[in-house]
Amino acid sequence: MEPSLGDGGDLTVAELDRNAETLDATDQASARSRLIESGKRTGSMLVDVFRDDRMGQAGLAILLVFALTGLFAPLVVPHEPTEINRGDDGTTLRLDAPSAEHPLGTTNMGRDVLSQLMVGARVSLIVGFLAAFMAVTIGVNVGLISGYYGGWVDDLLMRITDIAYGLPFLPFVIVLVFLMGPSLLSIIIVIALLLWRSTARVIRSQVLSHKQRPYVESAQAVGASNLRIMYRHILPNVLPLAFLYGAFSVAWAVIAEASIAFLGFGDPAMMSWGQMLFEAYTADAIRFAWWWVVPPGVSIMIMVMSVFFIGRTLERVTNPELRHAE
């Protein structure tokens, strides 16, 4: 599942050489302004790349719609997601086909599917983004430290990464969620606990190539501290790659959360799309209640796809060859 990657380092070689010439690491202000500048550079490059990429724009737009839905869901849902709806004659509306009152029908318990669907967007978004953020933060730090220091530090951290790679993802997540209790927080932590591994490996190899560049050597020569070189000089250059892996991590986290919920280990207090499918599957509703099954499945698919679209666009930032070619 690793995305293809060119040597993203080529991207800024010219700029780096320029940096090296004007380098004055003892000057706090200039270092800060350089950081801001490179931040801006990354920012404006992102804008440029998204400007002429339809897929990326579509991805952002879809994600925005989901975010707004999740944000305002409690205010605009037509029914309470857990409310048991009754028909005119007072009987529970079990597996009612879509109607004006219930645009996506009801579940076997008489609950409104559309309302559950809207509220469910929140879990995917929260888990997806928080777990990905945690994973990328861990991964970037591990990669930076490992690649920069080398030696036994590198050995130790890479063995830990190997171990993380040796754990089967879903089984490990299931066992841990089971032990920690099925709360949203433990699901996020458990996913992040394994998801950082790919970011760490990729960032490390990038850092290794940056370590050889003149700008790092000159920073060392003027006596900049290791921390400073790592976080002020190298980090901004590997940031685009971190963003790319951030996007992929969101996608994997959303799939992982949905899978956990589908297997019945989701947070019972939070309605999520995976949980909806779990309930529909256990109730054997895929045979006759498409309105209960199709919406959550398609929603998961579209959300993950939007993140992949964004990832494809970000990939052009890290791999300039793709930019010129397409």
């Binding site: 599942m1 690793e2 293809s4 063995r159 190997d162 171990i163 790679y165 040796g166 754990l167 089967p168 993802f169 879903l170 089984p171 490990f172 299931i174 066992v175 841990l176 089971f178 032990l179 996608a251 799939i255 949905a258 899978s259 589908f262 297997l263 019945g264 280990f265 995976g274 499918l277 599957y281 895929i286 045979r287 498409w290 099954v293 499945g297 998961i300 698919m301 579209i302 993950v304 796809m305 992949f308 679209f309």
Partner: protein, 325 residues
Amino acid sequence: MGLREYIVRRIFQLLVTYWAFLTIIFVLFRVAPGDPTSMFVMDGLTGEQREREIARLGLDQPLHVQYVEYITQLLSGNFGTSFRYSEPVWDVLVVKFWNTILLMGTALIVAYILGITFGALLGWYRGKKVEKVGIVAGLVARSSPEFWTGIVLLSIFAFWLGWFPSGGMRSVGAEIGSFGERYFSADFVYHMVLPVLAGAIYYMATPLLLMRNTMMDILKADFIEVKKAEGLPERRILYRHAARNSILPIVTVAAIVSGTAIGGSLIIETVFNWPGMGREMIESVTYNDYPMAMGTFFLMGSVVIFMNFIADLAYVYLDPRVQYD
């Protein structure tokens, strides 16, 4: 560093990783969940019986003694007795292990054959409409969690068209004979079609997109131009020369993905009621069957670690340019 030295070093790393994995299992299943005795000691015993049982199982020993004992037991395949089946975990798992390997193995083979073929074509037809459609299809497949793909396949082919059974591994009343009869019967294959398809669709995306990317790089190479100038037919250049040189990265990824697919069996087997390791794991966790949960986790992790090792070896073996670092 030479090849031999690299391999020795890699084997050493393998042992370290595996030891860490066993330790994690010990911590997860023996130390973490409250009273460690709950794992081996059955409920419904009187206090005295319980203590005798604890002593018999060595649970009154200091933790480090238990640790050594525990790992020895794990490595000798002694996972204890399943609470649900009242049978040794190993006996139950041996059958389920093969059910899972056959299912996921077939799914992966199908996924890689299709992925490589279509990926090569997409790289070849670069910039054409076919390519766009292919990429979007690949992204859709990769964006659908396995359970969703499975549910869609079930709805269409089992419930709507009625072509395939909705789950299980064999028809009710089918005779279970020897190993060969069990797996090489038409009934078994018939039941396997939908779950294999669900897995293949999900795992196809990776080789498809990867193959396309490498193909694009290879097609830029000079020797392809030379072959074109020689006037070789396009099909021949595509498969004989370009595709062949693009396979390398796929092989490494294939080994890693087959490790991941072991985890995917949890979902596919649940959707299709396939009596394998994955479904067994879900059930054992749900029913608090600790020895069984531990046994499945141990087997799955072992497969993943082994496949990662194979991936590294395949990489250095296949690519003479690789640097050992």
